[in-house]
Symmetry: C2
Subunit: 354 residues, 2 copies
C-alpha cells in the first residue's frame, strides 16, 4: 500500500484495536490480517455476544479471551473493527465514537450516510480525510467488482455497469459455510438435509441472493447495495449500475461477471495494461491455457483476480468491455480492506531512510 493520507483524526502509532464480532467468519479474518500484516497495535481486544465470551482465540503466538460486548467496552480503544451485523453497528458504533475510537464498520448500517466515507483504499483513500469517526467498509461483491472497474473508470469514465455475481457461502457467515459443507455431505450420502441458515438447499444448487426484494424495484438488498455503493465509491453519481446477485455453492471467494460501458471507445489491451499496473489486482487472463479468475485461486489471497477481458460484441460502438473477477470475500471483500483502512488512519510514520 503506497497511499499516504493526511490525518484529521491522528491515531497513536501503536493503537489499541478492538474487533466486534470476533468469533464470526470476518472476525476470524480480522485476526488473521492483523497478524499477517504485523499491524502495530499495542493491544487487541475481542468483543462478541455473551454466548462467545470466554472463548480464547489464537493471535500470533498468544491467545486472547473474548469479552462480552457492552456499552462500556470502548474505553481506551483507538480503532474499533465492527463485523457483527447492522443492528450491532447501529447500536454500538456511536458509543465507540463517543469513547474516542475510530470505527471501521463492515456492516451496511452507515455506508450510504453522506457523513460516512465508504472506502476502498486503492480507489478512494482521499475520502478518509472527511470522516467523523465512522468509516464504512463496502459490500464484499462491490469491492471485487470495483477493484476491476475503478482503474478503467479513472481513464475512461464508466457510464453503465451490468454485473452478475457468483457469491460464496462466506458472505453469509461461518454458519452458512458450515451448512454448505454439511448439506453437501448429506447429499452425497443420500440423506435428507433441511436448510437451517440459508433459505434454500445449497448442495450442488444455487439461488437468488438470500436478502429481501424491494417491491418497488424488484432488486434484492444485496443488489441495491451494489447499485448504490459503486457510484459512491467511484465518486460519480452518473454511473448507472444493474446487478443480479446469486449465491453459488462455493466456500469463500466471490466472482463477478461485469460489463463496463465507458464514455469513449476502449480496447481490451488498454484495460489489460491498466489492470496489470493496478495495486491490489492480479491479472489472470491466459486464454491459451484457459486460465482465468477462479474462487479456489482467489481464496486466501489479498489480490482480486481479473481476466476474461474482451470487447463486448453487443455494443457496436466499442465502448463496452466485458470481464470476470474473483476475490476473497473475507479478505479484500471484508477484513483486509478494513485493516488497510486502519493502516491509513495511523499517524504517518517518519519517512524511511535510504
Amino acid at each position: 500500500m503506497s497511499l499516504s493520507v493526511p490525518q484529521t483524526h491522528p491515531i497513536a502509532p501503536s493503537p489499541v484495536v478492538a474487533i466486534i464480532g470476533a468469533t464470526g467468519a470476518v472476525g476470524q479474518a480480522f485476526l488473521d490480517c492483523l497478524a499477517t500484516r504485523r499491524f502495530p497495535l499495542s493491544r487487541l481486544r475481542l468483543l462478541a455476544s455473551p454466548r462467545s465470551a470466554g472463548t480464547a482465540l489464537p493471535f500470533g503466538n498468544s491467545r486472547i479471551t473474548v469479552e462480552t460486548l457492552a456499552e462500556d467496552s470502548f474505553a481506551g480503544v483507538d480503532i474499533a473493527l465492527f463485523s457483527a451485523g447492522g443492528d450491532i453497528s447501529r447500536r454500538y458504533a456511536p458509543m465507540a465514537v463517543a469513547a474516542g475510537a475510530v470505527v471501521i464498520d463492515n456492516s451496511s448500517a452507515f455506508r450510504m450516510d453522506p457523513d460516512v466515507p465508504l472506502v476502498i483504499p486503492e480507489i478512494n483513500a482521499k475520502a478518509l480525510l472527511d470522516h467523523r469517526g465512522v468509516i464504512a467498509n463496502p459490500n464484499c461483491a462491490a469491492v471485487v467488482a470495483l477493484m476491476a472497474a475503478a482503474p478503467v473508470h479513472r481513464i475512461n469514465r464508466i457510464r453503465r455497469i451490468t454485473l452478475a455475481t457468483y457469491q460464496a457461502a462466506s458472505g453469509a457467515g461461518a454458519a452458512a459455510m458450515a451448512e454448505l459443507e454439511a448439506s453437501t455431505r448429506a447429499h452425497l450420502a443420500g440423506e435428507i438435509y433441511t436448510p437451517q441458515v440459508l433459505p434454500h438447499p445449497y448442495a450442488f444448487n444455487l439461488f437468488s441472493h438470500n436478502t429481501a426484494i424491494d417491491p418497488a424495484t424488484g432488486y434484492n438488498d444485496e443488489e441495491t447495495k451494489l447499485m448504490r455503493e459503486i457510484p459512491k465509491i467511484l465518486g460519480d453519481d452518473a454511473v448507472r449500475v444493474s446487478a443480479t446477485c446469486v449465491r453459488v455453492p462455493v466456500m469463500r471467494a466471490h466472482a463477478v461477471a461485469l460489463t463496463l460501458e465507458c464514455e469513449d471507445p476502449i480496447t481490451p489491451d488498454a484495460v489489460r495494461r491498466l489492470l496489470a499496473a493496478a495495486p491490489g489486482v492480479r491479472l489472470v487472463d491466459d486464454a491459451a491455457r484457459n486460465h482465468f479468475p477462479m474462487p479456489v485461486e482467489a481464496s486466501g489471497r489479498d489480490e482480486v483476480l481479473v481476466g476474461r477481458i474482451r470487447t463486448d460484441r453487443s455494443d457496436p460502438t466499442g465502448r463496452s468491455i466485458a470481464l470476470f473477477a474473483a476475490g476473497d470475500q473475507l479478505l479484500k471483500g471484508a477484513a483486509l480492506n478494513a485493516v488497510q483502512i486502519a493502516e491509513l488512519l495511523k499517524a504517518p510514520r517518519p519517512p524511511e531512510r535510504g
Copy 2:
C-alpha cells in the same frame, strides 16, 4: 405441444428411431424422454462406440442392447437422434440422411449451416418446414435463455442481450458429473483430487467455461455459440448478444442471468404476463418468499423456470428488463427439445374427435 407443422419429409406414424451416443448423459435422457412421452416408435435402436456395444439399457419394460455405430447402421431408420459430439455427427449424419433418416443433431456441427434449421419448437417450429434431412438442436444454455427471451421478442423486438451463465456439470457429460461428485467427496475427506475430465478443480469452485477462446474476439466457444445461435433461432440478425459462460458446481440444470434491451419501453408486469402464458415456461417469481428459479427445482422438469423479472435500473429509457432462468440442461436443453422436434416431424395425426 400444440404446434402442428406441415411435412415436407413425412415420417411413418410409428417410426424406427435410433439414438447415437446412447450411453452418454444426453443419450440416457433421450431414452427417458421417449419413454415418458410414449413416443410412438415401432423400434428403438441404440448406437454407440465399440466400447459401449453389448451393454443393455432399460427402456420402458424392456432392455435394448447397444450396437456399434457403423456406416451401415442407418438402414431402415426414420429418425436418428445424434448426441455423440461434433465429430461423430459430421461423419455419420450424412450417412444417416443418405439412408433416408431425418437427423436431429444435438452437437454444434451443423447449427450455423444456413441449410439446417436450428429449432426450439415453442419459438421457431416453422423453421422445420425447410429442412434437408438434418435439424439442429440448439446449445443448451441458448435454449434456457431463449425460452425466457423469445416471448418478449415476439411483442417488443429485443435489440441486445447481455447474459451470464451458471452452467452445470451435465453440460460436459456424464463423466463431468461423476467428476463433480468424486472431487467433492475427496475435498470433504481432505484428500487431493486431480481433475481428469475438466481442466480445473470443481469441488466448491467455478471457472470460465472449458472451451477454447477465440483469439480474435476473446470469447470462448460456448459464448460464441450463444451469440450466433440466439439471433438465428429468433430469426433476427439484428439481435446483438454478449455472453459470459461459467461452469458452476451444480449437477444438471443450467441457470442464466439475462438483460434484454428492447426496441420500446417494457414493464415487468407485461413480461410476467407474457411468460405466464408462454408454453414450456414456468413463472417462478415469488418475491415475498424469495423463491426464484433454482437448478434443484429445474432438474427433472420439462419447463424452463423464469423469475427475478425487473426493470434494469441502469437503462433510464425503461427499455431493458433483467431476469433469471433455470432449465434442465439434459431435458429442455437437449433431449426433450430434440424429442419435441421428432414429434413435430411425424406425419400429422388425424384431428382428435371431441
